[in-house]
Symmetry: C2
Subunit: 347 residues, 2 copies
């Protein structure tokens, strides 16, 4: 009797401890849906510098003269309980902001949260001069007050729904729809609200975002720059600036790949993925861009760079638009990408 | 022997269940620091409407003609595991974005996360035409292309550091510092990066943000609109539009309170707090604004509205600037505010 009692009393703490550990592990291990436990979250800026101007404002209650800070880049992050050795930076494209990676237009989980749940510390940026990253009003105010000619107003570009429809490959032309398209067009109204005007075309490359990405990569130590469309070229320009902290480059449907005479030495030891969705052959502009990326990849491989160009249908994933991080199968695409990172990126 | 064994076997599941429940509760109850468990997070837009224009772009690769969506408002939210009956909406001020409420310039927790940890579903917005809420480029492009006169460029206002220093009450004038100031001036460089140019002064009130706040309040059902500075007047304008969903109004250092002839019927059943920091008597502009808010409060009380005007020093909290949600004692201020809400807002 004593023996059994002792056994029970002896075993119970182990049983309890074991089950509590299992429970603690369950609470610490991030699940792919349901409540989410994060170690830390927050936001900060990188880059930026002060300028002085006497054209800050045309409103009487504000002084026109003074100092403002421009070119900085807003960064919001979330860290999981048990982060992988390397983080990811999600870099949006033209006429969009970091919102691209958040909740999809039809209300599903975005890649910002999904990569977090898959164990990545996740950094979402707003490009310099866009979203929460300040633009400068100076070039407008000097025109308004007659100190500069009207045609010096910088390019400030909105993509209309009709143009975006084709560029984002929802269909061959507005409002046609590709058969099997995965973009949640029923929520297109919410998607159009994500779009913002873009100062990028008023700037000479490399744009301030690239300098800020370089500072961010160095600060993070080991990070994969995941870029999209307009920003597709940015990680390559960042690597040219400095390879510090860049653990990998994922360029999703880049507006441009580097030229074949790009200095491939910048990519030494950095695995590169160029990723395209579906229907590329049905789009003249994207066919050309894909071909040019394949040319770049061939030249890069010859120079010893580890680079891969993948069209999602070739790995069995179909129907993806240019906005593949928002498509109905966005988490399937993310899973494939996480697998690719696991194979190629050394933490 | 059998009896004890049975007892042990009988008790063990209860012990286990009890301890597991305790563990589950601990995981579910949000702590004020350390790892954070949230029930749900995401982002969406409210408001917005389509416009057609032939001045969307001056860049050849984009069509100038088409449809864009404008006036929508970006909203990011996080929900705790056991939310209170009413949520809070955090509404930033002039020349700033929703970033105001996130990590402070010196890297401490912002009110967005602190209110969440205190049990509130927390909604942070970017005002329409600011941050992740699109502006329209049309009025600029028509000037650039000579279709409108230069002086029709809309007001696009940046507040310089020097002007902001005085308005934000860091000191009597730049670069003087008030004795006992709680703003983390050692991190001012990071603070200046938060500032963005502001289209608000090109608009006729009520600005699109107010319409969007009305839609958001109705959608949320029971929410407290917490506004700051420029947006201080917005919750009152929202209530005039419709009281639906507004469980309370907190106007932090409003640029303007409603006039004494404001239709107080809009505030029936809505508790109102107008909250000021320290050093108000040392600022001419803020002294006038406080006096005008006291006039409004007197008139509102006479009409039966539950309204209170509080200067933080009167409740024993000292040293606060205009940016009190970022001051070193920002969580002390939040605690006081949560107490006020608990007493006055009926969930």
């Amino acid at each position: 009797m004593k023996k059994v009692q002792r056994l029970a009393l002896t075993l119970t703490p182990f049983l309890l401890a074991g089950m509590l550990l299992a429970k603690a592990d369950a609470a610490d291990t991030t699940k792919l849906d349901g409540p989410l436990t994060i170690a830390k979250q927050g936001s900060f800026f990188v880059g930026g510098h002060d300028i002085k101007s006497d054209a800050l404002s045309s409103v009487p209650q504000f002084g026109a003269s003074g100092t403002i800070t421009v070119d900085q880049m807003y960064v919001r992050y979330q860290m999981p309980m048990h982060p992988k050795d390397y983080s990811v930076v999600l870099i949006h494209g033209c006429c969009l902001t970091g919102k691209s990676w958040e909740t999809t237009p039809d209300g599903r989980m975005g890649w910002d949260e999904y990569f977090l749940r898959r164990g990545f510390s996740t950094y979402v940026i707003d490009q310099s001069w866009r979203g929460r990253s300040a633009a400068s009003p100076v070039a407008l105010n000097v025109v308004k007050t007659g100190k500069a000619a009207p045609d010096t107003v910088p390019a400030f570009t909105a993509a209309g729904h009709e143009v975006a429809w084709t560029v984002f490959r929802f269909g061959a032309e507005y409002p046609q729809v590709f058969d099997g398209l995965q973009f949640p067009l029923q929520a297109q109204e919410e998607f159009w609200k994500q779009m913002v005007p873009d100062w990028n075309y008023s700037m000479t490359p490399p744009v301030p975002t690239v300098k800020a990405l370089s500072e961010l990569s160095e600060r993070l130590g080991e990070t994969v720059l995941i870029s999209h469309s307009q920003s597709g070229i940015f990680p390559f320009q960042t690597a040219t600036m400095s390879p510090k902290g860049i653990a990998g480059i994922v360029s999703i449907e880049p507006g441009a790949c580097p030229a074949t005479n790009y200095d491939m030495a910048a990519l030494k030891g950095i695995p590169v993925l160029v990723l395209f969705g579906d229907f590329v052959a049905k789009s003249e502009v994207w066919s050309k861009r894909l071909a040019s990326c394949r040319d770049f990849a061939d030249a890069a491989k010859k120079a010893g760079v580890e680079v891969e160009v993948v069209e999602l249908p070739s790995v069995g994933i179909h129907g993806n638009s240019h906005m593949l991080m928002q498509d109905k199968n966005n988490l399937q695409v993310a899973d494939w990408l996480v697998g690719w990172l696991g194979k190629h990126v050394k933490g």
